[in-house]
Amino acid sequence: MTELPKSTQKKLGLVIDLDTCVGCHACVISCKGWNTENYGAPLSDQDAYGADPSGTFLNRVHSYEIQPAEGAAQLIHFPKSCLHCEDAPCVTVCPTGASYKRTEDGIVLVNESDCIGCGLCAWACPYGAREMDQAAGVMKKCTLCVDRIYNDNLPEEDRIPVCVRTCPSGARHFGDLGDPDSAVSQLVKERGGVDLMPEQGTKPVNKYLPPRPKDRMPEIDVLAPFLAPVDQGAKGFLGWLDRTLDKL
């Protein structure tokens, strides 16, 4: 019901490194803080100190346990926010045009003054990346910190999304994924970055870098030469020691 732009000049987005994300939720809370104080309505919390607290978050970290065919189970921390899809179903479903994709940079936003809070977009998004703010009655979503990345009131180095600025392990990267030479595009290329649920046909801009294989330390036959005994027993050892010290 709402058209997407034919093309965008840039494809700004995030590259999230699942190999490095320790699941600390720093991005979740810095996002909550910034977006409570900035773009649009504050992110509210219902029953904040009660039995069933529930607030609006534009970014959440989920944790999944993986059991490989061989070896120990693994835990993957998976941060998820709007992926700023090229074919964003949340935009096309919007009955009022409140949801839109910016032509300049591809950021998907909600124009809160036009949002009627019908929730269709959240239903259409296959990633569950939009949340209705219960206090304001408008749809909230990741803005890619559109109020930071061009903001002349911020030092240049801070003109990045807060989640990227705050990430302690450096697992989050921001840039133009439409430019194959950009640092983020290069990173995606080097590390085999992937789309989330490509079968949905949404062409997400954000990319995920997969975890590197784990628990692959070679067993002893490869490493054995590194631990060949110098001699047998404490006596033999001391003989070796004397010989070795002579060479030092």
């Binding site: 709402t2 058209e3 997407l4 320790v22 699941g23 600390c24 939720h25 979740v28 810095s30 909550k32 803080g33 104080e37 504050p42 919390d45 219902q46 029953d47 904040a48 009660g50 039995a51 607290p53 978050f57 059991q67 120990a72 189970a73 693994q74 835990l75 993957i76 919007c94 009022t96 045009g97 994709k101 032509t103 036009d114 061009y150 903001n151 180095e157 801070d158 807060v162 600025r165 705050t166 990430c167 302690p168 392990s169 450096g170 590197r212 784990k214 692959r216 330390m217 067993e219 490493l223 054995a224 590194f226 631990l227 060949a228 110098v230 050892f237 020691l241 070795t244 010290l245 030092l248």
Partner: protein, 942 residues
């Protein structure tokens, strides 16, 4: 609808002002930018908090806790005014009183104690960062009963590090993140030093370095580790010594490093008939003796040009004195430490132990590198380069909170040292004021004179039995029994034993228990239910067994309900603090650094910073150090103390901007503008170590000279690492019957066994309990700090639930499925809690998140909050004493060397339980001293 875009303001104003201070959402001490905005009334309010890019600790990043600081600062649980108890203890019934009345009450209680029996005040502080100040206050009061929380936290790590190598992990050292190629991480609390470790892991993973995580639970850092070792809890020391065995057997050690910089070549008295058997040979000046490999002669270790011989022995009168290294070879080459011999107990296949040892050795020696920095060592030898061994380690509570934790931490340092990876490029590096050997620290003091200060600092590093804190009759001088034969090297005290001992009158009764920021009636105590009972117990006269309790906290914690007098503290954004070089500073390996907090907003409640209250109370009690020459209050508040207190002439709490005009660093007269200069500098001060002084610091003349100039110490103090901790041998000698200071007979065998001067591993007491074979642990969520986070509206949405995580095998064995409830039983108690299956877990271990469970009525949470209904503590299962042995004695559940609380020795059984309505035990609610919290939040300053 065709595409349309509104016009956006892409450069909206961000805030009206940025105030830079230091975070206190955990003990990590990151620099923060507090964005302030004026509200409609023109009042400046905290709007947003981000990391300070210039700050040495966090370099701009900030964790979830730090970013949620605004919710802590505005939490409904904040106390508002001094409180006087009006109901029964524990009920939470208080009336609000004025500060004058509160301080008068405290003075009336404390002044008579000081005049007659200062030890009847027990003053213990929790997670503060002002120990050099609070200990100074306690010392001036004159009580021996002071410590902070280290005894129930990580004293094993700190003490083992300092006794072994003159520094420890976290505040006192860090991996060389820029050069390390293999990082091995043993159990850590992931809310500690959290941003630096995350930054470090990110940095090294980005360049493809390997991370090995050793932890029974694969969450957090262990989830991103390239290799995960799901070890059996409490066996880390055995695993490490097995790797030491492998490395020694293969000759994969840095022999040159061992010979030059450690006590490996120092000779050990081999005369079994001597009272000095097993002590190090020393010359008349007390210097350790080695054989010089060039001359073959017995020589002081630090003589110019000496080449200490790792192998040579010294025979006099048919007695052969062998070097420490011979003793190590004898001990660790034993097949008792072979991987095959330890694999089952550790839960790690022998081949894997060998593989890890081999990989460590490969990286340390085959990927060694040189940094082009010339340096001169304390013997006068000049080295053209600095050799890098790019293997680094980090560990914290996971290995230390066991009754064998001290020796385990020592074992880890031994591994580091034989690899030559301490204070070298790519390895582990100290942060100023470390390196600093144990011998350069004070010894404990306990000399009490009514009406006078204590005879010296409370805490310290004993060198032998003569240094214990014992009364002339041999009984403990301290209420926590620190520095006694039960735990001689208890460098941080035993806060976890204070309430229990005070209640038992063992070793004596006290009058007033004064605590700060320590939730001792809840998550910070073992045996939580029992402690609540002890705090409320009355004697035959109807008086409380612990007569008076004063408590200071900023929030309505569980402990508040048990105090008679509450001194409400400020939030961290409303106060002055100093993160001092005299205490636990924010230094980096390349720089001495300290920091302040300052009131970026004034309190809107009638609360006062606790340290400022102590300045006032100290003056009311006429404590020397807190009154001026005219008899008035010496420091108007903590800020005044921070600026004007001098510990030694020219040395004060803050190192930066000293002297007239603020041009001096380290040493200099007090500067009245010092705090302003800190504020202008972003809330911190950093003083960088010159390039040639940045590694090999304990032995590097350039560093030693820099440290003296900076005021860290007064003369160069090069020393050798102590693979062999001689003070431990002195305790063994006493246990063997030597010397005038003798342990009680019932402790002799334990001392002989556990006080091995070379690291050993031993089973902890609870391992053998019949039927209790499953280990039960807690982990700290990265987004929570102890019990504090639960009151935070944002953080509690991340971690408001704490199921018991159970591995698949135990789920099946007990017929459990997700959502079921289990009865968890230990030798001490029983809880009934919800369970959830988790596979990335040691197969014989269950665990839950720490301190999520809350008492109803605490923290301004609704009584139906999940934290208060389904949340639970493992603390109910852990007793502060070991199960009675039938000898009538109270055996502390602590490390026998340091007294560290053995939290992680807990063993349990599981069984399926009918679902109760709430987790058990159900603790009756406490009355909240603060108003009910709002239902909803939409926090925007406008």
């Amino acid at each position: 609808m065709t595409h349309k875009q509104p016009v956006l303001d892409l450069s909206p104003p961000v805030s009206d002002e940025i105030r830079k201070t230091t975070c206190y959402m955990c003990a990590c001490r990151c620099g923060i930018n507090v964005h302030m905005k004026a509200n409609a009334d023109g009042d400046m309010k905290v709007a947003y908090i981000e990391g300070n890019r210039d700050h040495p600790v966090n370099k701009g990043v900030l964790c979830a806790k730090g970013s949620a600081g605004i919710m802590q600062h505005n939490a409904p649980a904040r106390l508002r005014k001094p409180l006087k108890r009006v109901g029964e203890r524990g009920s939470g019934a208080f009336e609000e009183i004025e500060w004058d009345e509160a301080l008068q009450i405290a003075t009336d209680w404390l002044a008579p104690l000081r005049a007659t029996a200062p030890e009847k005040l027990a003053f213990f502080t929790g997670r503060d960062q002002s120990q050099s100040f609070t200990s100074f206050w306690a010392q001036n009061f004159g009580t021996p009963n002071y410590a902070a929380h280290g005894g129930f936290c990580s004293v094993n790590m700190a003490a083992a590090g300092i006794y072994t190598m003159g520094g420890a992990f976290w505040e006192f050292g860090q991996p060389d993140w820029d050069h390390t190629k293999l990082f091995m991480l043993f159990g850590v609390a992931e809310d500690h030093d959290s941003n630096p470790i995350k930054m470090g892991i990110g940095k090294i993973k980005a360049r493809g370095a390997r991370v090995i995580g050793v932890n029974p639970i694969r969450t957090g850092y262990n989830a991103v580790a390239d290799d995960w070792v799901g070890i059996t809890p409490g066996t880390d020391g055995l695993f490490i010594l097995s790797m030491v065995h492998c490395l020694m057997k293969a000759g994969r050690m840095d022999l040159d490093y061992l010979a030059r910089f450690t006590d490996a070549p120092v000779l050990v008295n081999g005369d079994a008939t001597s009272p000095e058997f097993g002590l190090l040979l020393r010359d008349e000046a007390g210097k350790q003796l080695v054989i010089c490999r060039k001359t073959g002669k017995l020589t002081a270790f630090d003589a110019p040009g000496v080449r200490p011989d790792l192998s040579a022995t010294h025979t006099v009168n048919d007695v052969t004195h062998r070097p420490v290294f011979h003793h190590m070879a004898e001990k660790y080459l034993s097949e008792d430490y072979a991987p095959e011999a330890v694999a089952d107990r550790c839960g790690i296949p022998a081949a894997r132990i060998r593989a890890i040892a081999a990989e460590i050795a490969r990286v340390a020696f085959d990927e060694a590198f040189e940094l082009d920095h010339e340096w001169t060592d304390f013997r006068g030898d000049t080295h053209k380069t600095m050799t890098g061994r790019p293997v680094s380690f980090h560990a914290m509570r996971g290995i230390s909170a066991h009754a064998n934790g001290f020796q385990t931490c020592r074992a880890l340092h031994t591994l580091q040292i034989i690899l030559g990876t301490v204070e070298v490029p790519g390895g582990f590096r100290f942060k100023p004021p470390y390196p600093k050997p144990a011998t350069a620290h004070p010894k404990p003091h306990c000399g009490v004179t009514p009406g006078k200060p204590l005879d010296g600092p409370h805490l310290g590093f004993v060198q032998g039995p003569a240094d214990l804190a014992l009364k002339p009759d041999g009984t403990p001088a301290r209420i926590d029994k620190a520095f006694t034969w039960e735990n001689p090297m208890s460098a941080h005290g035993l806060m976890h034993m204070v309430i229990s001992n005070a209640h038992a009158g063992d070793p004596y009764k006290i009058d007033t228990l004064f605590m700060y920021m320590a939730n001792m009636s809840w998550n910070s105590s073992m045996n939580t239910g029992g402690v609540m009972q002890m705090l409320t117990d009355k004697d035959a006269n109807g008086d409380y067994v612990i007569p008076r309790i004063i408590y200071s906290d900023a929030y309505s914690s569980e402990m508040v309900a048990f105090a008679d007098l509450i001194l409400p503290d400020t939030t961290y954004l409303e106060r002055h603090d100093c993160i001092s070089l005299l205490d636990r500073p924010i230094c980096e390996a390349d720089a001495a650094a300290d920091a302040i907090r300052w009131p970026v907003v004034e309190p809107d409640r009638d609360v006062r910073g606790f340290q400022s209250v102590l300045c006032d109370l100290g003056a009311r009690l006429d404590l020397p150090g807190f009154v001026n020459d005219a008899g008035g209050q010496k420091y108007t508040d903590y800020a005044d103390y921070i600026v004007n207190h001098e510990r030694r002439p020219g040395i004060g709490p803050l190192a930066g901007f000293r002297g007239a005009g603020g041009t001096n660093t380290g040493r200099g007269a007090p500067n009245p503008d010092q705090l302003d200069r800190y504020i202008k500098n972003g809330g911190f001060f950093a003083h960088h170590i010159p390039e040639g002084a940045q590694y090999y610091k304990p032995w590097n003349n350039a560093y030693q000279d820099w440290a003296v100039q900076t005021g860290l110490f007064d003369a160069p103090q090069p020393y050798l690492f102590s693979l062999y901790v001689e003070p431990m041998r002195r305790f063994q000698l006493a246990a063997e019957g030597h010397g005038e200071h003798q342990p009680p007979d019932h402790l002799r065998d334990k001392i002989k066994h556990t006080m091995s001067p070379l690291p050993i591993w031993y089973e902890t007491d609870q391992q053998g309990n019949e039927g209790f074979k499953v280990t039960a642990l807690t982990q700290r969520p990265m987004a929570m700090y102890h019990s504090w986070g639960g009151q935070n509206a944002w953080l509690r949405q991340l971690h408001g639930h704490n199921p018991l995580y159970v591995p698949p095998k135990l789920m099946r064995e007990n017929g459990l499925k997700d959502g079921d409830w289990a009865r968890v039983t230990s030798p001490h108690g029983e809880i009934t809690v919800p369970v959830l299956e988790m596979a990335a877990l040691n197969e014989n271990t269950v665990w839950t998140w720490n301190a999520i469970g809350k008492r109803k009525g605490a923290w301004a949470l609704d009584e139906q909050a999940p934290e208060a209904t389904k949340g639970f503590l493992l603390n109910h299962l852990i007793h502060e004493l070991l199960p009675p042995k039938g000898d009538g004695l109270r055996w502390s559940n602590s490390d026998p060397i340091t007294g560290q609380a053995a939290w992680f020795d807990l063993k349990v059984t599981l069984s399926k339980a009918a679902p109760p309505t709430e987790s058990k035990p159900v603790i009756p609610k406490q009355k909240s001293p603060v108003p009910k919290a709002p239902k909803s939040l939409a926090w925007k300053i406008q």
